[in-house]
Point group: C2
Chain length 230, copies 2
């Protein structure tokens, strides 16, 4: 059996922050749902073999129609999500096809993932077992303790973590099983679980364009990005 690299797209959110009729991943960006832009990036990438989408159960059927309508061939499973992000992520992992070598876990609402990010993350994950994409922080970050500022760490060692995050299939499966044994249930980040387990995680350069669309201002910015490249 050939080894495969699988993208797991997390679309479980119901988008409480965006006042709209549909979850934000289904809102239109340049006349096409945001999630379709995201899935098309994986469809066109030569290294990704298959795509599994973890989706809120109320939208599984709707997404299935969108996938068919847009001719996306790599999406082989649309799976109802769990109660938490951690659970949804593990559901995606457990639903990867046999022979999966690496997984790339990605937010549905980051439609500007590109080939370079996908390939750099997979390469680092294969070398180290786990890799997360990071970008510089625009602001100065401080550490607080109660009502006091305790420390201003050197900004050059602080980064904002994005998705995709890439993992050897064995590493991320072990990390999720380990977390459940430890009673950890609300992790918002897969790299965090691998770190907590004591394994190394590589930092890969992400992109300032790989934004997460969580509100109307992000959506306006995303429209500008699309206009820039057209």
């Amino acid at each position: 059996m050939n080894k495969k690299d699988v993208a797991i797209v997390l679309a479980g959110g119901i988008g409480v922050r965006m006042e709209a009729s549909r979850p934000k991943q289904f809102l239109d960006l340049s006349e096409k749902p945001i999630i379709i832009h995201t899935l098309e990036r994986f469809e066109k990438n030569i290294q990704i073999s298959l795509v599994a989408v973890v989706c809120h159960m109320d939208y599984v059927e709707y997404l299935d129609e969108l996938v068919k309508k847009n001719g996306l061939k790599k999406v082989y499973k649309i799976i109802p999500g769990g109660e938490t992000r951690q659970e949804s992520s593990f559901i995606g992992i457990k639903n990867c096809s046999p022979g999966t070598e690496c997984v790339l876990i990605h937010d549905a609402v980051r439609p500007f993932i590109d080939d370079k990010i996908i390939e750099d993350t997979l390469t680092a994950a294969k070398e180290t077992g786990a890799a997360g994409t990071v970008i510089d922080t625009a602001d100065t970050i401080v550490v607080t303790e109660g009502h006091f500022i305790k420390e201003i760490p050197d900004r050059k060692n602080l980064k904002r973590i994005q998705t995709p995050q890439g993992f050897c299939y064995k590493t991320i499966t072990e990390a999720h099983e380990w977390a459940l044994k430890k009673g950890i249930k609300d992790a918002t980040d897969d790299c965090g679980l691998v770190l907590a387990m004591g394994r190394p995680v590589r930092a890969v350069s992400g992109s300032v364009f790989n934004i997460k669309i969580t509100d109307q201002a992000d959506l306006s910015l995303a429209e500008k990005f699309i206009a820039m490249v057209q």
Copy 2:
């Protein structure tokens, strides 16, 4: 002599990030230069007695005309800035009038500072000696070491620091003198100098609206904020 609270507005930047004919603090926001919006907030606040502006030397005269044209009575000094932010900040501090009790150091390009932020920061500064305004981080922040992610600190203890930052006059003067003795010349943050000297710094709640306008996207967002309240 009555004790006074003085605002020091830092407008030293020449705005290399914004492709425009003038430094960003002089660009129009709702038909008025950004810095005039900022100065008006202090003009209207009852706790601030005087405002000192530290400005790039090429723009001192231009700003003086703007201040007169807009009838700003509290701006009593416009001083040419230094080579670094730290130097400009210290120049502002040294140019405060006799009898200054507290200073509020603020970026010229944060025009949405409001009375609550000004007063909360001054109150905390009077109690503790130093105070900085902070807001939550929207992103997950990680600590990197070379090409590896070493730690994902608990997000609830990480904050983004903004301006204003408020200080007892004696505390901030000592911090700057201490820094120069130690050879520290490139501090980008006044609270950081007080912390480095080993003194406590309070964390005061800032506001997500108190944005720093550094590029065209920020300026568009600022226009939206203005439209919201009109």
